[in-house]
Amino acid sequence: MTTTIPSIPLRRLAKDPVVISGAVTLLLWGAASLYSPAFATWGHIVTTLTVASFLGVIAIGQTLVIIAGGEGIDLSVGAAATLSAIVASRFMNGSDDGLFFAVLAALASACVIGVVNAIGVLVFRVPPLVMTLGMIAVVAGFIRLYTGGRPEGSAAPLLNQLVTGDTVLGIPGVLWLWLGLSVLVIWLLRRTSYGWRLYAVGANRTTAYLSGVNPSAVKFSAYVLSSLFAGVGGLLLLGYTQNVYTNLGADYMLNSVAAAVIGGTALVGGVGGYLGTIIGAILLTVLSALLRTMQIGGGEWGDAPRQILFGLVLIIVLTAYGRQKRLRG
C-alpha cells in the first residue's frame, strides 16, 4: 500500500474475513497453549507451521481457481500433489544428482493435469467440480499404471533438508519457501495486470471479455497454476515423508477448499485473496492439533467427539462472516 488509507472504520475491520479468521486462529492457539504449554514453544510453532505449509502451498492454486469464478473449484489438487511426489521420488531415487530434472518432471506432470482440467472445463463445458473429480480417478488410475501400485524411489536428501532441516534463523527452508511463494502470489493478485484480470473474470466474465480480456486464457492459466502449485506441495510433502505412497495427497482435496473459504474467498468468484487462505490453512491445522492435544478424540469415545467438534467449530468460524447475502434487502 503506497497511499495512506483513510482510517478504516473498526466495524469494517471486524467484518474482514482475514481479520476474523486470524483472530480465531490466535484464540485457538491461545487455548491450546493454556491446555498444553508445549504448544507455545518455538519448536512446536515451527512444526505446526510446517504442517500448515503443505496445505497452504496446495491451496494457492485452489484460491486462484476459485477467484477465477464460474463455479471454479479444483478437487484434483490432491491427485496432482501425489503424482508430482511419485514422479519426483522415482527420478530422485534418494540422491541429489537427479534433483533438478526430477523437480522439472514432477512439476511438468502436475501441469498436464491442469491442462486437461482446463480443456474439460473450457472446451467441453464440464462443470469444474465434476471435471476435477473425474480427474482424481484418471490420475489415480494413471499412477497405478505407472507404478503398478508400488511407487519407487525416495526423496533427495537436499529436498528433505529443505523441508525439515533448519536453514536460517532456526526456521526450516519450507517456511521460507512458503513465505516467498506467499509474497509472490499476493503480489501476483494485487499488483499485476494478471491478478486484476483474474478478479475481473471472476467477478464478471462478460465484462472482462468485453473489456478486451481473454477470459478463457485467464481461466486456463488458473487451472494450470493450480496443478503446478499442487505439484510444488507434493514435492514438499515428499521432502517431509521422504517416501511416497499412493494416497499421499488425498487429504488436501477438500481441506484446500475449506482453507480458501475460511480465508474469505467466496465460491461465486472474484472475491478473496491468498492472505486469507494462509490463515485458513493455519487455522485448520491448529484446530486439528488442538483437538488432538486435548484428547477430545481418542478417549473411551474414540474418534467421534473430535470429528463432531471439528465440524461444529468450522461452522461457527464460517458463521462469523462466510455468509451469503440476505434475500431481503
Binding site: 483513510p6 499485476t192 495486470s193 486484476w196 467477478a203 462478460t206 465484462t207 468485453l210
Partner: protein, 560 residues
C-alpha cells in the same frame, strides 16, 4: 374527505452501510390513479417501492394501506395484501415457461398437485391481451430465456397482473419496451385505473408521464420533494423539481446542436460531419457487413464525427456494434479502419485495433460490480501501464484513474470502494471513461444513457462530445430519438438489418426520425403518429433488394 389515503408511507428510512437510500420519505396515493414517482438516479425511488412490496425492510417508517398498517416480512405478505410489482431487475426464472413464471408463487392446486388447467385459465387472458406486444403470439409454453428483453419485460407485467393487484408497481417497466408494447401497456393501465387500482409508475421518460399519469411525486436524495398533479405541471417544472436547479434550457449537449444549426448548409452533398473535417477520409468504413440480424450494412464515420443509429429497437443496431467489436457474429463484408481492412475475432483484438465498446447493459456487461472502482477503470488498459506488461505500480494506476475521473467529472468516495456503491450515472461514466486511456479511434456505444436520469444524461453526452473532439469516430445507438438528435451529427436509420435512411442537417429532428422509422413498418402507423411527415420522406438510400446476402459471403464464424 377525512378518510385516510389509500396508501400512505411516512418517515421511511433505509441505510445500506454508509449509503442513505431513503431519508425519511413520505408518500401518499389514492386508489384509481396512476401515480408517477420521479427523480434522479439513486434518489431512492426503487427502494421506496421495494419497502412497499416488502422486498426491502425499512430501518424506520410506516406503511398504511387502506388505513391499516402493513408490516410485511417479505413479498408474500404484501402480495396477500394486494400489492404486486414489476421490479427494475427482472425477476423471472429463465428456465421456466412463460406460464410457469406467471403463476410462480401462486400456483393453483388440486388434490395437492399443481393444476395446469386452472393455471392456464388464469394466465391466458392476460397473455392474449398482450399478444400485440409479443408480435401477435401467445407464448404460453415458450421458455422465458428464449424471449427478447422487451418480451420478458411484458411477461413481468403479465406476471404482476395475474396476481389481481389492488396496487401495481411498475419500476421502469417501459425502459426496454418498444413503442407498440408501451401502448398496449398503457391501455391496460388505463383499464386498471378505471377499476380502482392504484398504479405506481417509475420512469425517466417524461413523455410517458404526460401520456398516462395523474399525479407525480418527485424524489431527491432519499426524500420526497413534491407531489404534483401532472396535468397542471409543465415539463420544465418537473425537471426543475428533480434536479433542484432552475433549468436554463431543455437539456443536454447544447453546444453540438448549436454548432450544427449554424453550420453552413452543405446542400445535401456528403454528410456534413460537423465535428469532423468533411474532406478527411473516413476513419471507419463498413461495406456490406452481414451477420446476426445484419443484412448488408454499409456506412462510414469520420474522425470527430458522432454517428447515430436510429430506428425501431432491435433492427440490428446492437448486432452491428457487436460485429464490429468482434463479440458478435460476422459472416461477410469488409470493415476498413483508416483505410486498412480489420477483422477482429474477439474484443481483445478489436481493442488492439483501436475499437472500444460501451455495452447497453451496465451491470451485466460493463462493470465488475463487486470490484473496486480503481480496477474497473483500469481493466481495458491495465497492461499498457504495467512494467513488462505485468507489474503494476499502484501510484500510476491511481493517477490514471484520477485523471479520467476528473475529465468526466465522476464523483466517488474512494477508488478502493466497490463500483456497486456508486449511483447509476456515475457507474455509467466509468463504463465509458475506462476506455479513455486506450485512446480509441472508434467508439461504439450501445444505448449509453439507458435508465440514466436527465442530469447524468447531459454529462454523459458531454463525454461523447469530448471523445469525438479528441479525434475518435463515435457511433451511438439509442432507443430514444431525442437523445440522437441532441448528440449526433448524423443518424442512420436501421430496419431489419439494413440502413434505410440517413438523416442530418436540418432534417435531424425527432419527428423525422420517428417518421423515418415508421415509414418502413407501415404508412398507417406512421400517419397516426406524425401526420404528413411520412409523405416528405426521401427514398431510402439503399435498395433493400440489392442487399440480400449473396452466396459470396461464406459462413464464417467470428467472435467468441
Amino acid at each position: 374527505m377525512d378518510s385516510p389515503p389509500f396508501l400512505r408511507m411516512s418517515g421511511v428510512r433505509k441505510r445500506y452501510g454508509g449509503v442513505t437510500a431513503l431519508d425519511g420519505a413520505d408518500f401518499e396515493a389514492d386508489a384509481g390513479t396512476v401515480h408517477a414517482v420521479l427523480g434522479p438516479n439513486g434518489s431512492g425511488k426503487s427502494t421506496l417501492l421495494k419497502v412497499l412490496t416488502g422486498v426491502v425492510g425499512p430501518d424506520a417508517g410506516e406503511v398504511r394501506l387502506r388505513g391499516e398498517p402493513l408490516r410485511p416480512r417479505g413479498p408474500r405478505d404484501t402480495l396477500a395484501a394486494g400489492v404486486a410489482s414489476v421490479y427494475q431487475e427482472l425477476s423471472l426464472v429463465e428456465d421456466f415457461t412463460v406460464l410457469d413464471n406467471l403463476l410462480l408463487g401462486v400456483e393453483p392446486t388440486r388434490f395437492g398437485l399443481r393444476d395446469r388447467r386452472a393455471a392456464t385459465a388464469r394466465a391466458l387472458p392476460w397473455l392474449e391481451r398482450f399478444a400485440p406486444a409479443f408480435g401477435g403470439r401467445v407464448p404460453v409454453r415458450e421458455r422465458v430465456g428464449d424471449l427478447d428483453p422487451g418480451e420478458r419485460q411484458v411477461v413481468e407485467v403479465c406476471k404482476a397482473l395475474v396476481r389481481d393487484p389492488q396496487v401495481l408497481v411498475l419500476d421502469e417497466a417501459t425502459a426496454s419496451l418498444r413503442r407498440g408494447q408501451v401502448e398496449v401497456l398503457f391501455e391496460v393501465v388505463t383499464d386498471l385505473r378505471e377499476r380502482g387500482v392504484l398504479v405506481l409508475f417509475i420512469t425517466h421518460r417524461l413523455a410517458e408521464i404526460f401520456s398516462v399519469c395523474d399525479r407525480a411525486t418527485v424524489m431527491r436524495n432519499g426524500t420526497d420533494v413534491a407531489t404534483v398533479t401532472v396535468a397542471d405541471t409543465p415539463e420544465r417544472e418537473l425537471v426543475e423539481l428533480m434536479s433542484g436547479q432552475p433549468q436554463a434550457r431543455s437539456s443536454a449537449a447544447p453546444a453540438r446542436q448549436a454548432a450544427l444549426r449554424t453550420a453552413p448548409d452543405t446542400a445535401g452533398a456528403a454528410a456534413p460531419a460537423v465535428g469532423a473535417d468533411p474532406s478527411a477520409p473516413p476513419r471507419l468504413e463498413v461495406r456490406e457487413l452481414t451477420g446476426d440480424r445484419l443484412d448488408g450494412v454499409s456506412l462510414h464515420v469520420r474522425a470527430g464525427e458522432v454517428l447515430g443509429l436510429g430506428g425501431l429497437q432491435g433492427q440490428g443496431q446492437s448486432e452491428l456494434m457487436a460485429a464490429l467489436f468482434g463479440s458478435g457474429r460476422r459472416t461477410g463484408g469488409t470493415v476498413l479502419l483508416n483505410g486498412a481492412p480489420v477483422r477482429p475475432r474477439s474484443p481483445k483484438q478489436a481493442v488492439r485495433a483501436g475499437f472500444c465498446y460501451v455495452p447497453g447493459n451496465r451491470g451485466g456487461q460493463g462493470l465488475a460490480l463487486g470490484r473496486p472502482i480503481l480496477e474497473n477503470f483500469a481493466l481495458p488498459s491495465v497492461g499498457r501501464r504495467a512494467a513488462l506488461g505485468v507489474a503494476l505500480s499502484r501510484r500510476r494506476e491511481v493517477a490514471a484513474a484520477r485523471s479520467v475521473a476528473e475529465r468526466i467529472n465522476t464523483r466517488y468516495g474512494s477508488l478502493d470502494d466497490p463500483v456497486s456503491t456508486l449511483s447509476g450515472g456515475n457507474q455509467q461514466k466509468i463504463v465509458v471513461g475506462k476506455w479513455f486511456p486506450t485512446e480509441p479511434s472508434v467508439v461504439l456505444m450501445d444505448d449509453p444513457a439507458k435508465g440514466i436520469d436527465v442530469g447524468a444524461k447531459a454529462e454523459m453526452f458531454e463525454v461523447v462530445a469530448e471523445l469525438a473532439a479528441s479525434g475518435a469516430a463515435v457511433i451511438v445507438g439509442s432507443s430514444d430519438d431525442r437523445e440522437l438528435v441532441e448528440v449526433c451529427d448524423r443518424v442512420l436509420v436501421m430496419f431489419e438489418g439494413r440502413v434505410v435512411d440517413e438523416v442530418f442537417g436540418d432534417r435531424l429532428t425527432e419527428d423525422t426520425l420517428i417518421a423515418s422509422a415508421m415509414h418502413i413498418t407501415g404508412a398507417d402507423v406512421a400517419a397516426a403518429h406524425s401526420g404528413d411527415a411520412a409523405a416528405e420522406l426521401p427514398e431510402p438510400d439503399h435498395d433493400p433488394e440489392a442487399r440480400a446476402p449473396g452466396p459470396d459471403h461464406g459462413p464464417e464464424e467470428g467472435g467468441a
